[in-house]
């Protein structure tokens, strides 16, 4: 059977204030501290659109190759829930901000276009907190009114890996154009997926089910696999699939029924009378389009073409705009793109991973890595020492040359000093020396190792070997 899936993603737009009032948007603030009469839904208040939310929504939509509606509007979606103070959500119904886009998704060996059905603006709801002991519930409305862009794909995904790849690509695009940080732990990106199955070669769509509240890309992938297994098993057993909503249980690695959709909820959408329709001029759209940076896919291609990087390295670099920018700075400063890529993808990424920090949160500047690479290149420190200096730069932001001196990592170039060290090693290892002289060339490796150990790597190994061979000739 073939898997057919679509994804709805809610992305929090990176604005300083909420969508329809002046309240600040900040994660982790005390409950209800970021509220005002407007986002609390008091009688008589009116929404005023945050133009920045519209601008970011447009940016995202254009980066996803969507068409922007020349005239759009807001609608009220009416439903009762305690996290929704007005008991309606200001959203967009029949004239979304954007339609008909696509994202190029690379997974395994192939690249496919996943079509974007629509993208629309809406305000977020608050958060309900339930007492663990007892039956009371609390409402935190800090999030109520935070701007979201809902991005809906066509049912174009054909595997769980592709779903994972789509989300990774989407995230890297949205981060690249600066519309959202997409931090799932802060709820800045949330997704619901829907899935149906069909016999290979069929073009009809099967009955779909929805899986809600997936809080990592990995869970999306696993949930799709689990739900796919369930669909296939149901059909194999001669049963039919019922339209329903499911939750994914990662412990059991299976989906659990949340509710069966007996009838669609009637949201009684109608145009929001408090907000006039929005005309978006072509010049505005074109200006936004022109202001978009190079997108990850194009940048990846360019890195391979221009710098001769492997697809793996290029892909790794462009998935985070800051990393890619960092790489390009280092590459330009040193003129050695492959070395730069190698260090960024392996060393920098490893250190960040250990620290669980983002590059922009550390004190590492591109100039520091350039300096380190120059020191290595000039033979003033070994590569191993360079990595040690790098780790210190990440923490302190101090100049590498200074760190090199302070840490005593500079390679010893004083020949007398090296000679004295070698003499010491020779004197201390008479057996090895005798073996070598007796024709056991492999012993040289051991002796060089002893030199490195004694100098803590401050002597270049080839240099040590050359001098040793001279002495023992």
């Amino acid at each position: 059977m073939e898997l057919v899936a679509g994804i709805e993603t809610h992305v929090q737009l990176k604005t300083a204030s909420k969508m329809f009032c002046g309240c600040a948007v900040r994660f982790g603030s005390p409950p209800n501290s970021l509220t005002c009469p407007v986002c609390l839904g008091h009688p008589g208040v009116l929404p005023v659109l945050n133009r920045k939310a519209l601008e970011l929504g447009m940016r995202a939509a254009l980066a996803l190759n969507c068409r922007i509606a020349p005239l759009t509007k807001f609608d009220r979606k009416n439903y009762y829930y305690p996290d929704l103070p007005k008991n309606y959500q200001i959203s967009q119904f029949d004239v979304p901000l954007a339609r008909d886009g696509w994202v190029e998704v690379r997974s395994e060996a192939q690249t496919r276009r996943v079509r974007i059905h629509r993208a629309h603006l809406e305000e977020d709801a608050g958060k309900l907190l339930h007492e663990e002991q007892g039956s009371r519930s609390f409402v935190d409305l800090n999030r109520a009114g935070v701007p979201l862009l809902e991005i809906v794909t066509e049912p174009d995904l054909r595997s769980s890996e592709e779903a994972y790849a789509y989300l990774s690509t989407l995230k890297s695009i949205l981060r690249a154009v600066g519309v959202s940080d997409c931090d799932m732990e802060k709820g800045e990106l949330r997704c619901d997926v829907n899935l149906s199955v069909r016999p290979p070669g069929s073009t009809a769509l099967g009955v779909k089910t929805e899986i809600k509240n997936l809080n990592s890309f990995r869970y999306v992938q696993k949930a799709l696999e689990a739900e796919f297994r369930r669909h296939v098993a149901e059909l194999d057993a001669g049963r039919t699939i019922v339209q329903s909503t499911w939750l994914y249980d990662p412990d059991q690695d299976q989906t659990r029924l949340m509710r069966v959709k007996e009838f669609a909820t009637d949201y009684r959408y109608f145009p929001e009378p408090d907000l006039p329709p929005l005309a978006i001029r072509d010049e505005e759209i074109e200006a936004t389009r022109r202001s978009l940076p190079e997108l990850p896919a194009a940048r990846c291609d360019r890195f391979m073409r221009e710098y001769g990087l492997s697809e793996y390295d290029a892909q790794a670099l462009v998935s985070e705009r800051v990393m890619a920018d960092f790489f390009e700075d280092v590459s330009k400063a040193t003129g050695k793109p492959k070395t730069a890529a190698n260090w960024v993808v392996n060393e920098v990424a490893r250190i960040l991973n250990e620290k669980k920090a983002a590059l922009e949160e550390t004190r590492l500047a591109p100039s520091a890595l350039s300096d380190i690479l120059s020191l290595v290149e000039a033979g003033r420190v070994t590569a191993a020492s360079g990595k040690e200096i790098l780790a210190h730069c990440v923490d302190t932001g101090r100049p590498p040359a200074e760190l090199m001196k302070e840490l005593g990592l500079e390679i010893v170039t004083d020949t007398d000093e090296i000679e004295r060290t070698l003499d010491g090693i020779i004197a201390a290892n008479p057996k090895a020396v005798a073996d070598f002289k007796g024709g056991k060339d492999a012993t040289m490796k051991f002796l060089v190792g002893q030199v490195m150990k004694a100098t803590k790597g401050r002597v270049q190994a080839p240099k040590a070997e050359e001098l040793l061979r001279k002495k023992l000739r």
Binding site: P37, L40, G41, H42, P43, G44, V45, L46, P47, V48, L49, R76, N78, Y80, P82, P85, K86, N87, Y88, V139, A264, D266, R268, Y269, F270, P273, D274, L275, P276
Partner: protein, 481 residues
Amino acid sequence: MSRDLLYRSARQIAADVRTGKISAAEVARAFLDRIEATDGQLKAFITLSPIAEPPNPAGPLAGVPVVLKDNLCTRDVPTTCGSKILRDYRAPYEATVVTRLRAAGATILGKTNLDEFAMGSSTENSAFFTTRNPWDLDRVPGGSSGGSAAAVAAGQACAALGSDTGGSIRQPAALCGVVGFKPTYGRVSRYGLVAFGSSLDQIGPITRDVADAALLLQVIGGPDPLDSTSLPDPPPDYLNQIERDIRGLRIGLPKEYFGEGLDSEVRARVMEALKLLESRGATLTDVELPLTPYAIATYYIVAPSEASSNLARYDGVHYGHRTEASGSLIDLYARSRAEGFGPEVRRRIILGTFALSSDRIDAYYHRAQRVRRLIARDFERAFRLVDVIAGPTSPTAAFRIGEKAADPLSMYLCDVYTVSANLAGIPGLSVPCGFTSSDLPVGLQILGRALDDLTVLQVGRAYERETGPMTRRPPLPAPSS
């Protein structure tokens, strides 16, 4: 304090306060005494406001005692909307119009009675009590801004603010013998007006003469960054341009406004007023507003649809009345709302919910919106031929309390001449034009082009100039029976 002060114009009171002839506190005292003496009978007020520190003594409304319909949010006292569900609700902010009144030096005396959530034409739908008509205490003052109109007519306040969704300023003004003006939609910020039908609601002044209405509009009108539907351009100086010669002015008389259902005495007073204007050089022309018969039906789909959504927030969760009964979340919603809302509000929420439901929305809400655009086009067509349209504000003078309370449809027909202006977003003024044989006031309605509030006020002022200031006073306090 002399009775003369109680009926002095806002312009005169402000001038006297600015020149120090009288203090704002003295003015306030006189009106509070009047309220004390009359409101037991009239029942115009839901809450009296604490009289705050001396207001801006140099402002255009220096010391002018103003009352507010109790659906305008204020910080100092509750904003009840005439509803049990908001009986104790105190807004954490102030409506833009209230802030502007205070900045202009006005003294806010209190908050007046209304039909619950402004839904009604008599104040009988108030959850608290029915306001009386100052000309006949057995009759309604009209509604929904009945408390505001009654207070101004009775000399309890110099001026008032009301809100008009389908006639709620103009109809009570007509029934109480005062001036009521609904400006062009967007002229006055709605921020802080508890929403009923958001695309129809407009705040406006209720005063004893047209020039005072112009003065108040001057103060409360103009763009507001907190209301995205407020008009962006600053309003003209209404008061300075209010005097105008009406020679050559073309007045349209829609035959649909003089047909069946119009009381003969009301018709007679309105025609006398129009003949007077004609005798001063205006021309009277017949015009057609053929969609008038559909206006009430259209209005009673659009307004309840928006209301069903606007009133969803009163759910017992965040503020307002919450049921004592325990139960599920749905029970909390259902009980709080059933206990908090009166029958007319419930009826309109049900109507609106029905009209927006997915299998009915095309037949009702969407169709009503199309008819609404056609109604606006009717007016545009008529305004190519005439400068203003005039007719009666209400088909009858004030009716008896209880007379229509049992029959919502006959009550809805009170709005037959007024709802179209809200559907089309155009300005409408009601000016007193005499009395019936039973001493009940009659109102002349003047409608104008969208944005042309000025011409409407000028025509009303021209009529008022010809007839002179109203000298009749309501018989209040009435001898107790």
